[in-house]
């Protein structure tokens, strides 16, 4: 039982940045802009937030900086995809490469620690929030473990994410803006005819996506490790993209995909070197690779058809 709850606890921790990034991708891709630059935005935001938190001494300033930088990158992507009608895939790729090159360069120049940022003091980083009565619950079976491991003891960003998920779902399906985002992603010409500015909606969607990526990056550096480490995003952006496809571009299934991937991650660490009955020891690489293989299978339509927004990746040129 203890093992189960500690696995679930790590699942929540690992899923948080994935869920934020997947929701960021949701905004962008639902508006018709392919976003493979989630990875780069998370990485750069992690660097910016750790640097700003270190210099200012406040994790909140770090969070703002992380969001600001991720939004800036999103706007670069917006310029290419929306204003310039350029290739969105290439733009996304370029942003990823720029982030992975520039962060260690700036890190080394500013902090002289091999491209990483200095370890943040405890008041500079987000800490775990312990709910009242943890000790009392310690002795209650099951419920106590649920309270202590699942509900209590997470960073503020985890709780923010739990609020953000329903808000984004509502935003996409029920709000005026969400309706327009979906319209622009499915049929920009129709939306344009109806008097909606395709460019404005796409830029706004990218803006919100940038904010969420910024939060994901902040979570990694200002909470989880307490410093920026090179390449610390380690494929999380692509995993989030995979979860988005897994969820067929819908918020709640995408979030479930993230939780599933994070769960694999959590059990993979536990299974390292453990011999299981029947199959024996499972190499960790086999479990690591599950999300990627699942995505390929899903995209191939073996698990169910994943239908992308119709106008995804297609630049909008106003028709006459």
């Amino acid at each position: 039982m203890d093992l189960l709850f500690s696995i679930l606890e790590s699942t929540i921790r690992a899923a948080t940045p994935l869920m934020l990034a997947a929701l960021a991708g949701l905004f962008s891709e639902r508006s018709g802009v392919v976003d493979i630059s989630l990875e780069g935005k998370i990485l750069f935001a992690a660097f910016a937030s750790a640097s700003a938190a270190y210099v200012s001494g406040s994790p909140w300033v770090g969070m703002l900086a992380g969001m600001g930088v991720a939004v800036m990158l999103a706007m670069v992507h917006g310029f290419v995809s929306v204003t310039y009608n350029g290739n969105q895939l290439i733009s996304g790729m370029a942003i990823n490469i720029i982030a992975s090159g520039l962060t260690p360069v700036l890190g080394l120049a500013w902090f002289q620690q091999g491209g990483n940022t200095p370890q943040l003091e405890s008041e500079m980083r987000f800490r775990e929030i312990h709910w009242p009565g943890e000790e009392m619950m310690q002795n209650v079976p099951v419920l106590g473990q649920f309270y202590n491991h699942i509900l209590s003891g997470h960073s503020i960003i985890v709780y923010m994410t739990i609020v953000i998920i329903p808000v984004v779902t509502w935003f996409i399906y029920r709000s005026r803006f969400g309706l327009r985002v979906r319209a622009v992603g499915e049929n920009p010409h129709a939306a344009d005819t109806a008097g909606v500015s395709v460019a404005k909606i796409r830029y706004t969607a990218l803006f919100w996506g940038g904010l969420l990526c910024g939060l994901a990056g902040t979570y990694l550096s200002v909470y989880q490790t307490g410093s920026f480490i090179r390449e610390m995003s380690a494929g999380k952006g692509f995993l989030a993209l995979a979860a988005l496809i897994f969820g067929k571009w819908r918020p709640v299934p995408a979030v479930i995909g993230c939780l599933l991937f994070a769960f694999f991650d959590a059990i993979q660490i536990r299974l390292e070197g453990v011999a299981l009955p029947i199959v024996g020891e499972v190499p960790s690489q086999f479990i690591q690779v599950i999300p990627y293989v699942l995505t390929v299978l899903l995209m191939a339509g073996f698990v169910g058809r994943a239908t992308a927004p119709k106008a995804i990746g297609v630049p909008f040129v106003k028709s006459r």
């Binding site: 493979i36 670069v76 290419v80 204003t83 310039y84 009608n85 350029g86 290739n87 969105q88 895939l89 290439i90 733009s91 790729m93 370029a94 942003i95 990823n96 490469i97 720029i98 982030a99 992975s100 090159g101 520039l102 962060t103 260690p104 360069v105 700036l106 080394l108 120049a109 500013w110 491209g115 494929g235 692509f238 993209l241 995979a242 496809i245 190499p283 690489q285 086999f286 690591q288 690779v289 990627y292 293989v293 995505t295 390929v296 995209m299 191939a300 339509g301 992308a308 630049p315 040129v317």
Partner: protein
């Protein structure tokens, strides 16, 4: 200003002036960053060029890197001509390295070099092509986007190779995650070695005969893409899939074959690294070479001549950058990755950015 319109510039200007302006823009931003971290951009530029071309060893290393980039650049371009964006070069090179290793493990004690080396070349191409085949097949038959599947395949290749290195391939008692050293018969003749045939004394660098293979590939690429029936089908599919289908071209076949062609070219980069330089495969031998190929192809506008030139540029950046990072501890080799990213952004995503500014210059003349 109107973006995304068909170009009105003469073709030669499109192929030379625009990439040059894009390159200058990328270097200008780099110079700003260099200046911002407290170094002198001009001095760094001189160190970089000196490191790449200033002395024999530097030139050797520059050309060695160039060789690998030509292969991956051609690979990306091959897919591009069919309208496909192959981000999977990294994984394809990795798996091709496995092919080379298996061929060497099987035959390197038995066969002489003239038979063994062609076998390793074929193995590298076959493994690279096989790893690209699946994304190609899925794109053609199942409509799954090749960009996302190739990204996933890069991760799957990394996990697979991680497993193989840990369990199977690693040399017994070795300290590095690497295979055993291959027998000399499997070594690609180095330039130093080939120079000695003609009595030349060349510096000791990993530059090897793969460079010739790369140049032959360029010629073959040009022949196949622009002067064969299949190349015509390839380019038609890339330009307008619907028209191609209407004209009776089997689009799905073109897509699958194009991806295999692309993967086979990428695979050859493994030969340059594994048999040309380290003579064993180690865990991190690909080192981003597949991603540089994207920049090389975009900068070279998917033409072999452009690809050779831009591969040379990136080879020089890699070698010069390594030298620069030794002289200037404040500038790491990641600066080169940053420049690659900028070049991909300007030459790929914003390729005609400066056209509205220079178009009037050309109009007045004609």
């Amino acid at each position: 200003m109107k973006f995304g319109q068909p170009s009105t510039l003469p073709r030669w200007a499109q192929l030379t002036v625009l990439p040059l302006l894009n390159l200058i823009a990328a270097l200008a931003i780099t110079a700003l960053v260099v200046w911002a971290i407290g170094e002198d951009p001009w001095e760094c530029m001189k160190l970089l060029v000196g490191g790449a071309f200033g002395y024999g060893e530097g030139i050797g290393y520059t050309l060695f890197y160039t060789t690998g980039y030509i292969f991956t650049g051609l690979a990306v371009a091959a897919a591009f001509h069919a309208g496909l964006f192959n981000i999977g070069g990294e994984g394809q090179v990795y798996i091709a390295g496995l092919g080379v290793t298996l061929a060497c493990y099987a035959f390197d004690g038995i066969l002489p070099a003239p038979i063994l080396i062609p076998i390793t070349l074929i193995a590298s191409m076959a493994f690279g092509a096989a790893w690209a085949y699946l994304p190609g097949y899925l794109q053609a038959k199942r409509g799954s986007h090749v960009v996302v599947t190739t990204i996933m395949f890069n991760y799957i290749a990394a996990a697979l190779m991680g497993y193989l290195f840990n369990r199977v391939l690693m040399e017994k008692g070795g300290t590095n995650t690497a295979t055993r050293e291959f027998a000399q018969a499997a070594w690609m003749p180095s330039f130093q070695h080939m120079g000695s045939w003609f009595g030349l004394e060349l510096p000791n660098t990993p530059l090897n005969a793969s460079l010739f293979i790369a140049l032959i590939c360029c010629v073959l690429f040009w022949k196949v893409v622009w002067h064969s029936k299949w190349g015509f089908e390839l380019r038609t599919t890339g330009t307008n899939e619907h028209a191609a289908k209407y004209a009776g071209i089997s689009v799905s076949k073109v897509v699958i074959v194009a991806m295999c062609f692309s993967g086979a070219l990428a695979g050859l980069a493994a030969v340059n690294e594994v048999l040309g330089s380290t003579h064993r495969m180690n865990m991190t031998f690909t080192n981003g070479i597949g991603f540089v190929g994207i920049a090389v192809a975009l900068m070279g506008r998917n033409h072999p001549v452009g690809i050779v030139l831009s591969a040379l540029l990136f080879g020089a950046l890699t070698q010069g950058g390594l030298d620069l990072s030794l002289d200037k501890p404040n500038i790491t080799r990641e600066m080169i990755i940053f420049i690659q990213g900028l070049i991909i952004l300007f030459c790929g995503a914003l390729e005609n950015l400066f056209e509205p500014f220079i178009a009037p210059l050309f109009k007045r003349k004609s």
